[in-house]
């Protein structure tokens, strides 16, 4: 698919389609991670994070693509993996690709995402049903009525209450985590 087409899909928030397509560029990132002390799960995780950074960045109104998406994604991954190595006090890094995008382009976006990881972790640790409910409602914008039907709640109201309860326990956990940090 052409890069421009992908950007259009991002603007119209077709995340599933975008991600599925963009995995075409995954192999070289995986190679890079494997060549630099990571496992393939690390590579998947890293790539997913990079996809999110890119997806959000490309969705913003002022975004212009300065290179191919392939190079862009690779550069994000490379930056994040180097960063991770640095945190583990491992310095050596061998590059796979020569071409790269200026890191200034996406450093801020990566930092924002890093801050969100804590909140995401809290959401993920809520347990399957809470997480599913919140994602369906807030992320996929599914109507409570439909969520109730799909997830087996007795009424729309029950689902709504449940939603707030989930959010509340998340808030408490997040608060606790933030004060401990």
């Amino acid at each position: 698919m052409e890069d421009q087409k992908i950007i259009e899909l991002i603007k119209s928030q077709k995340h599933a389609k975008v991600f599925t397509t963009l995995y075409n560029y995954f192999p070289v990132v995986k190679k890079m991670v494997l060549a630099n002390g990571g496992r393939s799960e690390d590579a998947e995780d890293l790539y997913q994070d990079a996809l999110i950074v890119f997806y959000k960045k490309a969705g913003s109104a002022d975004f212009t693509l300065t290179s191919t998406i392939n190079t862009y994604l690779y550069s994000i991954c490379r930056f994040m993996w180097k960063d991770q190595l640095k945190k583990q006090n491992k310095q050596s890094f061998t590059d796979i690709e020569k071409e790269a995008v200026d890191e200034i382009e996406f450093i801020a976006a990566i930092e924002t995402e890093d801050q969100l990881k804590l909140a995401e972790k809290v959401i993920s640790e809520l347990g399957g049903r809470c997480k599913e409910l919140l994602i369906l409602f807030y992320f996929h914008s599914i109507k409570l009525k439909d969520i109730a039907a799909k997830m087996g709640y007795n009424s729309e109201n029950t689902a709504k209450n449940q939603k707030y309860k989930c959010l509340e326990s998340a808030k408490i956990k997040l608060k606790a985590l933030q004060t401990s940090h």
Binding site: H15, N24, D49, Y55, L118, G127
Partner: protein, 758 residues
């Protein structure tokens, strides 16, 4: 609703911009006044963003599965799977439907009895999420699980307690633990007895009808594909045995053997690697299978009949046959262009043709091209005979292991071995597992070439490790196919050699004809020129005598064979010499008799003919037909115009004929005078040109003109033929190393060592 929850609702409305303007201001004032509230808002904002992120992450993870699934579809061809295993066209592709939403991390409710009818359940059974698929037992079904296991379930593959195929709706239960986290969460170990295993994933599958477990018909088993990033060699399928302590021991390993799924053999690519891509990069239409086939198969002519011809043939004839073989392709190429398949190619051809046409004298620079083609005798051939590939790439081999994507994957490697015995190994063992043949190819075997000697190709071990099996219920007439292969390969080879030979002979005959015509034309031309010269000389000399008052009425006849006449005597001859010089050079004669003081003047004056848009024509011929001559003069082109000097004693007709593609143009004028003439050509037909030429006057002139025009037409065709042969030659040379990769490799070191000397 509790107060806290009400507050959250308000904050949410605020964050989502759902508050009215007034409420918004009130709320914002409250926030400013209350740092606690401000913190709550901030937290909730982060949570919403966290949820979005979690959603995106989930989407990204699921997309990976989707991506792999799509890739699998492409690689293995699910339609092929349906046709071959299921033999019914309707496929139902299920997405997993999770029926029971038991609490995460809490044990699942389990039926009383497990699939073997006892009450033993393991921890994994309890902690892995159940995926339930409801399906029709009498229909072929393909399901994909959450983590991407694809299971093909043929109709009637489940048996009930009485051993009869189950009818109607059944429930398929799947639990999967493909990733490390799932495996650990489920308390699964990778233990077999006291050995540790490396796992590619674990799954549980069971079907029930009305709560009772069904068994799988071993004659009609399910087929599952487990997603993986890489295929590791030596993976085996273990059966899980539940132990009383809740763990599972893995027992009874079986090598994983992948059934091969035949696809339409004609949809596969059996060409040498890079063949189609190379053609495309050279601007040929690589989608035209008629063209790509005939080009590839024409190289079978490198392998003439193995019993008779090879023994007799010298290296030269093999090479000649092979080279000329591509001519057949040219015919195909023309067919392709006629159908508009390759306009670009045709344009290039015509451009070359035009270039050749103007360089009339260098039309045959170093002998004809087909002679040149025949001279390239410097190589023998080493590679896989395309005729053998043609023999297997046919409907006869549908539904064998050759008609599989897996075999297609091996073909580039087979081509690269350049050893026909490797190909034969696969064709002659259609009843074996593909991975078995892979190992056979990897090992050295045989003593001599006739014995099917191969030195062992370790690169095939990689394939052997994949454990590719055979086509289930594949073509059983394996022995017959083997014989068919041998026979067809031979027949194709002979037929192609014969066709190629015929083409070559035809081209050789045309070469001879062309050479003869060319010679005749050269003779005619020199005859015409000397004839013209003599007539004009006589005319001039008679006039010179008249002006000088000499009585001699008839000048001595000049030898026609020589232009430069050696005249050593004086007297009349002196005048003759000047007249001859002037006639030859077509310059004005201005002679004063030294004795009488009388002058003889015969003027030659220039004529310049400009033709409008002269560059737009492929070729332009300008003729002058003097009444006094029996033949014509062709006017030479100089600097975009046609120039000649006219003899004042003669009166000239001018005829101009031009061609542009298939169109013809004509112009004629009587009584042309010296000076500058600008003419515009008029479009006409060849027939009209013939008519006009016939009306020009003297019969002898008409005949000479027609002869010349015919020769020009022949020359045009001949040039086209030469261009075609050149194109074939070029293509053949380019494609040869692609079809026979070892030959390319063999010539490279020679070039290297040459470079070394320089």
């Amino acid at each position: 609703m509790r107060r806290e929850l009400e507050l959250m609702k308000t904050i949410e409305n605020y964050l989502k911009g759902n508050l009215s303007a007034a409420d918004k201001i009130t709320f914002e004032n409250k926030i400013k006044a209350n740092p606690e509230l401000q913190k709550e808002v901030e937290l909730q904002k982060q949570l919403l963003e966290g949820i979005e992120r979690a959603g995106l992450k989930q989407s990204a993870k699921q997309s990976l599965k989707k991506h792999r699934f799509n890739k699998n579809l492409r690689n293995w061809g699910l339609t092929g799977l349906a046709v071959a295993i299921l033999t019914v066209s309707a496929i139902v592709l299920y997405n997993s439907v999770i029926k029971k939403n038991a609490k995460e991390n809490a044990p699942q409710e389990l039926p009383e009895l497990n699939e073997q009818g006892d009450k033993l359940w393991s921890d994994a059974d309890k902690f892995l999420e159940l995926q339930n698929f409801e399906l029709d037992a009498e229909k072929d079904t393909v399901i994909e699980t959450k983590d991407g296991i694809v299971i093909a379930i043929p109709a009637n593959s489940f048996l009930d307690a009485s051993g009869k195929p189950a009818k109607g709706k059944i429930d398929l239960e799947v639990k999967e633990a493909l990733h490390a986290a799932d495996i650990m969460k489920a308390g699964l170990s990778t233990r077999s007895g006291d050995k540790l295993l490396e796992t590619g994933g674990m799954f549980y599958i069971n079907a029930r009808q009305d709560g009772a477990s069904l068994t799988i018909d071993t004659k009609n088993p399910l087929y599952a594909e487990i997603p993986t990033n890489e295929v590791k060699p030596g993976m085996q399928l273990f059966e899980g045995k539940r132990l009383p302590d809740g763990t599972i021991d893995w027992v009874n390993p079986k090598p994983i053997q992948k059934d091969l799924i035949p696809v339409d053999i004609l949809s596969l690519d059996f060409y040498p690697p890079a063949y189609l891509d190379s053609l495309k990069s050279w601007g040929y239409n690589n989608k035209d299978k008629r063209f790509t086939d005939s080009l590839y198969y024409s190289f079978a002519a490198y392998f003439p009949d193995e019993h008779s011809a090879r023994a007799k043939a010298t290296a030269d004839s093999i090479a000649a046959v092979a080279e000329a073989s591509a001519a057949m392709v040219a015919a195909e190429m023309q067919v392709a262009s006629d159908r508009g398949a390759s306009k670009k190619e045709m344009a290039a051809l015509e451009k070359k043709y035009a270039a050749l046409n103007y360089k009339e004298k260098s039309l045959y620079p170093e002998g004809s091209l087909s002679e040149q083609l025949g001279n390239d005798s410097s190589f023998g051939v080493h590679g896989i005979n395309p005729a053998r590939v043609k023999a297997i790439w046919s409907d006869k081999f549908q539904n064998t292991l050759l008609a599989t994507r897996e075999f297609e994957e091996r073909l580039p490697y087979i081509h690269r071995t350049c050893n026909e015995s490797v190909l034969d190994m696969y064709v002659n063992n259609l009843d074996k597992n593909l991975c078995t043949i892979d190992s056979m190819v990897a090992q050295p075997r045989g003593n001599s070439e006739s014995d099917g000697y191969i030195s062992g190709y370790p690169e095939f071990l990689k394939f052997a490790a994949r454990g590719d099996g055979k086509v289930k219920n594949g073509n059983t007439n394996v022995r017959l196919l083997k014989a068919y292969y041998e026979q067809k390969a031979k027949i194709y080879s002979e037929a192609i050699s014969k066709t190629v030979n015929e083409f070559r002979n035809k081209q050789l005959k045309k070469d001879v004809d062309a050479a003869q015509k060319k010679m005749e034309n050269a003779n005619n031309e020199s005859l015409r020129k000397s004839d013209n010269l003599m007539t004009e000389f006589n005319l001039n000399v008679t006039e010179a005598y008249r002006q000088l008052g000499y009585k001699k009425s008839t000048p001595a006849p000049m030898s026609v064979a020589a232009y430069g006449v050696a005249i050593q005597t004086t007297g009349w001859n002196n005048v003759d010499k000047y007249v001859m010089e002037s006639t030859l050079a077509r310059t004005t004669l201005d002679y004063t008799d030294p004795q009488s003081g009388k002058k003889a003047v015969i003027n030659y004056e220039p004529l310049t003919i400009s033709i409008t848009d002269v560059k737009s024509y492929d070729r332009v011929l300008v003729y002058l037909l003097p009444d006094e001559l029996n033949s014509f003069m062709r006017v030479e082109k100089k600097n975009e115009a046609f120039e000649e000097k006219l003899n004042e004693l003669m009166s000239y007709k001018m005829v101009c004929i031009a061609y542009k593609g298939e169109e013809s143009f004509y112009f004629s004028q009587d009584n042309v005078k010296p000076g500058t003439l600008t003419i515009s050509l008029i479009k006409t037909t060849n027939a009209d040109i013939t008519n006009n030429v016939n009306k020009l006057g003297k019969l002898s002139q008409v005949k000479a003109m027609n002869d010349d025009l015919n020769y020009m037409a022949f020359e045009k065709e001949e040039a086209k033929r030469q261009v075609m042969l050149a194109a074939i030659n070029e293509l053949t040379n380019k494609v040869r190393p692609v079809i026979f990769p070892c030959m390319a490799a063999a010539t490279a070191p020679v070039a290297d060592s040459l470079a070394h000397f320089q």
